[in-house]
C-alpha cells in the first residue's frame, strides 16, 4: 500500500511541478512547436531530478518510467496548451491538471505493467 500510494503521490507531484514550470516558461502566442519542445525539455529535466531523488523510497524503475512519460509527454502537452492560451486560467488550475495527468499516467503504466508481466519464454524444462 505504501508503494502504491507513493507511486501516485510521486506522479502527481511530478505532473504538477511540470505543469507549473512549463506555465512559467511558455507564454500565450509562443510558437507552438517551440513551446512543445521547451515543455518536453523542462519535463525531462524535472523527471530526471525527481526520479533520482524519489528512487530510493519508491524503487528506481517504478519511479523513473512513469516519471519519464509525465515529464516528456506532459511537458509537451502543457506547452501546447499554454502557447494557445487554452491552458488553465490560474496556477492552481494548472497544478491540478498536472496532478491529474500524473495520476492518469501512473495508472496507465500500472495497467500496462499488469498486461506485460509474466512469462515471455517458458520451455517447460
Amino acid at each position: 500500500m505504501y508503494f502504491t500510494i507513493g507511486d501516485y503521490v510521486a506522479g502527481m507531484f511530478i505532473g504538477a511541478l511540470t505543469a507549473l514550470s512549463v506555465r512559467a516558461a511558455v507564454w500565450p502566442g509562443m510558437d507552438m512547436v517551440i513551446a512543445m519542445l521547451l515543455g518536453m525539455g523542462i519535463g525531462m529535466v524535472i523527471h530526471l531530478v525527481l526520479g533520482l531523488v524519489l528512487s530510493p523510497w519508491l524503487g528506481m524503475f517504478e519511479t523513473m518510467m512513469p516519471a519519464s512519460v509525465i515529464g516528456m509527454y506532459g511537458g509537451m502537452f502543457f506547452g501546447m496548451r499554454d502557447s494557445m492560451a487554452a491552458g488553465s486560467p490560474t496556477l492552481t488550475a494548472a497544478a491540478i491538471v498536472g496532478m491529474l495527468f500524473g495520476a492518469l499516467v501512473v495508472l496507465g503504466v500500472k495497467i500496462y505493467n499488469r498486461a506485460l508481466r509474466g512469462a515471455v519464454v517458458d520451455t517447460g524444462d
Binding site: 528512487s55 524503487g59 518510467m65 508481466r117 515471455v120 524444462d125
Partner: protein, 200 residues
C-alpha cells in the same frame, strides 16, 4: 582485475543499501521465488553488499563473489546471518579461478548491467557451469517499448558513471554466450526480468 570497475563499485558501496531500499522491498518476493530453484553447488556473481542473501533458501552452500572489496566488507555481516554457508571471495567474473563444470547453479542479480564485457563474462559462467547446471538471473534490460527504450538510452551515460548501464540486451547476451533460454519472465514492464538459462 578491472580496477576501474572495482573503484566505481567501491564508491557505490557507501550508498548502495540506501539506494536499493525500495527495490529490495518491491522486488524481493520475485527474487525469493527465483532463488527457490537453487540446487547443488552455487555461485553468486556480484554479491554486492549482500542484500539478496536474505532471499536465498536456507541451508545452501554458496560461493558469493564480487569485484569490490568494499562491497564484500559490507556483505560479511549479512553472510554470517544467513542460515547456511556463504563464502565471500573477491573476484572478477571475466576471469574465474574455478575449474570447468564446477557449479550446479549460478545466480546473478543486476549484474550484467555492469560487467564491462558482458558476453565474455557470461561465457566464463558457461564454462564453470556443469552440463546439467542452470543460470538464474534477475536483471534489468533495455526496454523494447519505444519511449522507455529511448529514455533508458538517454540515461545510460549518466547512470554508467555511478553504477550500471540501463540499456543492455542481457537476454541476447545470454544466448550469444551459448546458453539456451529456459524461461524469460517480465517482472516490471519489459525492463526488470527473470532469466533462466541452461547450457545449449
Amino acid at each position: 582485475m578491472d580496477t576501474e570497475t572495482q573503484r566505481k563499485w567501491d564508491e557505490a558501496s557507501r550508498t548502495f543499501d540506501w539506494l536499493t531500499f525500495a527495490d529490495d522491498h518491491r522486488l524481493g518476493p520475485h527474487k525469493r521465488r527465483l532463488f527457490s530453484k537453487i540446487r547443488g553447488a552455487t555461485l553468486m556473481v556480484a554479491a554486492g553488499t549482500g542484500n539478496d542473501f536474505k532471499f536465498f533458501p536456507p541451508g545452501q552452500r554458496i560461493i558469493a563473489i564480487d569485484i569490490s572489496p568494499k562491497m564484500l566488507e559490507r556483505a560479511a555481516k549479512k553472510a554470517t546471518a544467513y542460515p547456511g554457508t556463504i563464502e565471500l571471495r573477491e573476484m572478477d567474473v571475466g576471469a574465474l579461478p574455478f575449474p570447468d563444470a564446477s557449479f550446479d547453479t549460478i545466480v546473478t542479480v543486476c549484474t550484467f548491467c555492469s560487467v564491462p564485457k558482458p558476453v565474455a563474462g557470461l561465457r566464463e559462467l558457461y564454462r564453470v557451469l556443469k552440463p546439467d547446471g542452470q543460470l538464474l538471473m534477475f536483471e534489468h534490460v533495455r526496454s523494447k517499448i519505444g519511449p522507455f527504450g529511448i529514455l533508458l538510452d538517454l540515461m545510460t551515460p549518466l547512470s554508467r558513471r555511478l553504477g550500471p548501464d540501463l540499456n543492455r540486451d542481457t537476454v541476447g547476451n545470454v544466448q550469444k554466450a551459448g546458453f539456451r533460454l529456459r524461461r524469460e519472465e517480465n517482472v516490471y514492464l519489459d525492463i526488470v526480468k527473470i532469466i533462466e538459462a541452461v547450457k545449449g
